[in-house]
């Protein structure tokens, strides 16, 4: 049978990017479909990464650009997969390129349009901590460097159109439907972050100085809304005491998800150390149930965090958080379960390390692909031990967090991406030789 | 209640519904006792309105349990057979607050307000068993705001205070009076800080704990608060211009004259 020597990768986070590069370098034509305006995914949102403390975007950006420049990679950003037919070796895929209302070939990414745009919208990329315009580039290193008009918030004032020197803005732009023929499909759609509104005793959404870890990452990030300065949302003061709460919505049978998200303890230790580096005189607490710093070098790092940086680890899941209506300071009521003392602690900032959960549209996409999802909406491998990246449909594989908490952290995702690429190559090569 | 279009029928021959002290001693015994009361209502063909959080919690739990768990239901019915009763699960158990919010409705209450309680600073004590029992963790459960909404509907100002969602301490009466008092003391101190005109409860037991409790605390802990304690129904009747006479007012250990004056 005729085998397409090409592959489709859905989702352009670190997993999708790595899978695409491994496939493309292997000589396989790869279509990388990303639903948002830029590739980069979650890793682009993070500040620094353990253990090298490289700034996350700094080590990701070269790979993003490699994808962009790679002769074997066809980058389809701001696009979505609509239909999939066929079988391993010969899939037919319908992809819709959503209109950016900016012509990619003309836009030089100067940003004049955004300067003039009158509309301000909370920036998804900053998890709502910062603002963007209705015509925007999600972040400075965005790839491709093409602006996008967000028509849901656009006033159709036409200012962007009139100021654009490159004549790139086209508010009449229509969606474009593409048909692709590929031999294999890699799903790498990643995860969403759980918003703990249901855990009312923590006051998320009610208390200004209670935030999620992803929001903190944006505050820490050099290209974030505060330029890397940690400020309390309530008064912009630099917090002197910060508490990290583990297992908010994960390991939770009632309000969130029963599984362990596998990464929170690790990044909390990393963030705690960053806080200490930013401000050695600050008090940093990590409230944990079981400190799950497994994986290469993490235990040693946690020991250093305690010994050298003086991060305080408290084995407890606090019962409630209360806000002082005047100062907006927060009081945690908790029991130190190792000394069995019930007490309270006053801090400036509380960071909730919330569960990672499936993308809101994961089930929908699974339907399109004809693959199964588990009760949460993550992909399920056909054989979780023997074939950890295969789905039930031959020729469709998964990698990254869309496989659920099976994935730990970035290295896991990168390895799964390699594995996924290998599986697709196996199919394509085995049949083409 | 009649003024609000709710007809109340006294249940004849009911026993105590089995507060937690009873529940603690014998599971099936408790189920059977409470079920007996439910059977009486089933016979009358009427839903039950419980004024007391404990009665509500007990009856509601039993009703839900027996409706869903056949095995237990049969066991209980077997016991009930000695008094020729049989649980069918045909009636609902409602708390007075449920009736006021869901059946009567805040709008109707607003309309019925004759003397708006403007300027009255009210702290509310909903009472744990109206909001927290396990079986209320579905959406049917009410939140702590329920009483605030009602108070607001009467024109008064609901005041937030520390430890609002914490128990009044009542359940520990006769078991560890010392602890029981300390808990109330804590809450009363918080109420004082919030300087409220009165505290309104949805539960007669919280009511007693605060009202009688203040006397005990005064004598034993040498702390004096003088915070008038009202059951919501009392506040409601004030607002609806229904004159409380005789026995009701005499019930208050802490004088509520200050309120009466303020509202006059």
């Amino acid at each position: 049978m005729m085998v397409e020597k090409s592959a489709l990768v859905i989702g352009a986070g670190i997993a999708g990017i790595q899978a695409s590069l491994d496939l493309a370098n292997r000589g396989i034509k790869t279509y990388l479909v990303e639903k948002s305006p830029s590739i980069g995914g979650r890793m682009a949102q993070l500040d620094k990464t353990f253990p090298t403390m490289d700034c996350s975007i700094c080590i990701l950006a070269p790979k993003m650009i490699e994808c962009f420049r790679h002769p074997n990679i066809d980058l389809l950003t701001y696009s979505e997969v609509r239909e999939v037919h066929g079988s391993a070796g010969d899939f037919t895929v319908k992809v819709v390129k959503k209109p950016r209302y900016v012509q990619a070939d003309k836009c030089v990414g100067c940003g004049i349009c955004a300067d003039h745009c009158p509309v301000e919208v909370p920036n998804e990329f900053d998890s709502g901590m910062g603002i963007r315009k209705a015509v925007y580039l999600p972040f400075p290193q965005a790839v491709p460097r093409v602006y996008t008009v967000d028509r849901d918030h656009c006033l159709d004032c036409g200012l962007c159109q009139s100021v654009c020197t490159a004549k790139a803005v086209d508010l009449e732009q229509q969606p474009v439907e593409l048909e692709l023929h590929v031999g294999g499909i890699v799903v790498a759609t990643g995860f969403d972050v759980y918003e703990p509104f249901r855990i009312t005793s923590y006051g998320y959404g009610k208390y200004k100085n209670v935030m999620t870890a992803m929001q903190l990452e944006r505050l820490l990030s050099a290209s974030g809304p505060t330029g890397g300065r940690i400020m309390r949302p309530s008064d912009g003061r630099i917090p002197r005491s910060i508490a990290f709460l583990q297992c908010v919505g994960s390991r939770d049978q009632r309000f969130g998800y029963p599984y362990c998200s596998s990464i929170c303890c690790k990044y909390a230790v990393k963030d705690a150390v960053l806080m200490k580096e930013h401000r050695p005189d600050s008090e940093v607490y990590i409230f944990y149930i079981d400190l799950r710093v497994f994986g290469k070098g993490f235990q040693e790092f946690a020991n250093r965090a305690k010994k050298e940086f003086g991060v305080k680890f408290i084995r407890s899941s606090p019962g409630e958080i209360r806000e002082d209506p005047e100062t907006r300071d927060l009081t945690l009521w908790y029991e130190d379960t190792l000394t069995r003392t019930v007490t309270s602690l006053k801090v400036d900032l509380v960071v909730l390390c919330t569960a990672l959960m499936p993308r809101s549209d994961s089930v929908e996409l699974a339907k399109i692909l004809g693959i199964d999802t588990d009760k949460f909406g993550f992909l399920v491998p056909s054989d979780s031990v023997g074939q950890p990246v295969d789905t039930q449909v031959p020729g469709i594989v998964g990698c990254g967090y869309c496989l659920g908490p099976r994935t730990g952290d970035i290295p896991d995702s990168v390895m799964q991406a390699g594995a996924a690429a290998a599986r697709v190559s196996e199919i394509i090569m085995a049949r083409s030789v | 209640m009649p003024a609000l279009g709710v007809e109340l029928v006294d249940m004849d021959g009911t026993s105590c519904c089995g507060p937690f002290a009873i529940q603690s001693l014998d599971y099936t015994g408790w189920l059977a006792l409470a079920a007996r009361n439910l059977c009486i209502a089933e016979k009358m063909g009427l839903d039950i309105m419980a004024l007391c959080n404990d009665c509500y919690e007990s009856l509601m739990m039993v009703n839900q349990t027996l409706r869903t768990d056949k095995e237990t239901r049969d066991k209980v019915n077997e016991i009930l057979s000695v008094v020729n009763k049989k649980f069918k699960g045909t009636v609902n158990v409602k708390h007075t607050m449920d009736v006021l919010c869901d059946d009567v409705g805040l709008d109707k209450i607003r309309n019925k307000v004759a003397k708006p309680l403007n300027g009255l600073r009210v702290a509310t004590q909903v009472g744990c068993h109206l909001v927290r029992p396990k079986l209320l963790h579905t959406e049917i459960g009410k939140g702590f705001e329920v009483l605030d909404d009602l108070v607001q509907a009467l024109g008064a100002e609901p005041v937030q205070y520390d430890d609002k969602e914490i128990c009044c301490g009542g359940p520990l009466r006769d078991i560890d009076d010392h602890l029981s008092r300390n808990l109330s003391n804590r809450k009363l101190a918080a109420l004082k800080r919030a300087n409220v005109d009165c505290v309104v409860t949805a539960c007669p037991f919280c009511y007693i704990q605060f009202d009688v409790g203040q006397l005990e605390i005064k004598t034993l802990l040498k702390e004096e608060y003088d915070i008038p304690v009202l059951h919501f129904v009392e506040l409601l009747s004030f607002a609806m211009g229904i004159k409380l006479e005789g026995p009701q007012l005499r019930e208050h250990r802490v004088s509520i004259d200050s309120i009466v004056r303020k509202l006059a």
């Binding site: 390991r251 899941s317 069995r340 | 603690s24 001693l25 408790w30 006792l33 927290r132």
Partner: protein
């Protein structure tokens, strides 16, 4: 076999991961070191001497805050009921509770109706509270009376 886990309302104990959210929420725990819901469960699972546990279990307010917050559905607030009932079987019942229970079985009311109460009820146009002999029957049948040391 795990006694508590197999007593009605005690099923939760095995779900507990000792996170301490209950202890951080418990109003009693904030007043006295004696009572700590998390530790209570740990001791139950360690197979601790019952006597100690019954006494502790009666310090619970049944305000159900722990149940409201527990992420695992371990429901200490329910477990204490199981503990108490196990204790009750061997006659470990606090005086207060015992009196109430006996009143209930004998009269149908935990607080025996007094003249003044009847008078008050009358003022609302309600009949006085009669005692309810059926309760005793039910209590006898269910074995409740036996637990209370009544015929």
């Amino acid at each position: 076999m795990h006694v508590v886990a197999n007593t009605p309302r005690g099923e939760g104990v095995l779900s507990c991961i000792q996170c301490g959210r209950c202890a951080g929420s418990c109003p009693v725990g904030r007043l006295t070191v004696k009572y700590n819901p998390r530790r209570l469960v740990e001791m139950v699972n360690l197979g601790f001497k019952w006597e100690a546990l019954f006494e502790l279990s009666w310090l619970c307010l049944s305000c159900f805050t722990c149940i409201d917050r527990c992420p695992q559905g371990a429901d200490v607030g329910e477990v204490v009921f199981a503990l108490r009932s196990i204790g009750a079987r061997d006659g470990n019942i606090p005086k207060g509770a015992l009196t109430m229970a006996r009143n209930l079985v004998e009269t149908g009311h935990i607080v025996i109706p007094t003249a003044s109460m009847s008078k008050q009820r009358a003022s609302f146009g309600l009949p006085p509270r009669e005692s309810v002999p059926e309760v005793a029957k039910i209590a006898r049948k269910s074995g409740f009376s036996k637990i209370l040391g009544l015929k």
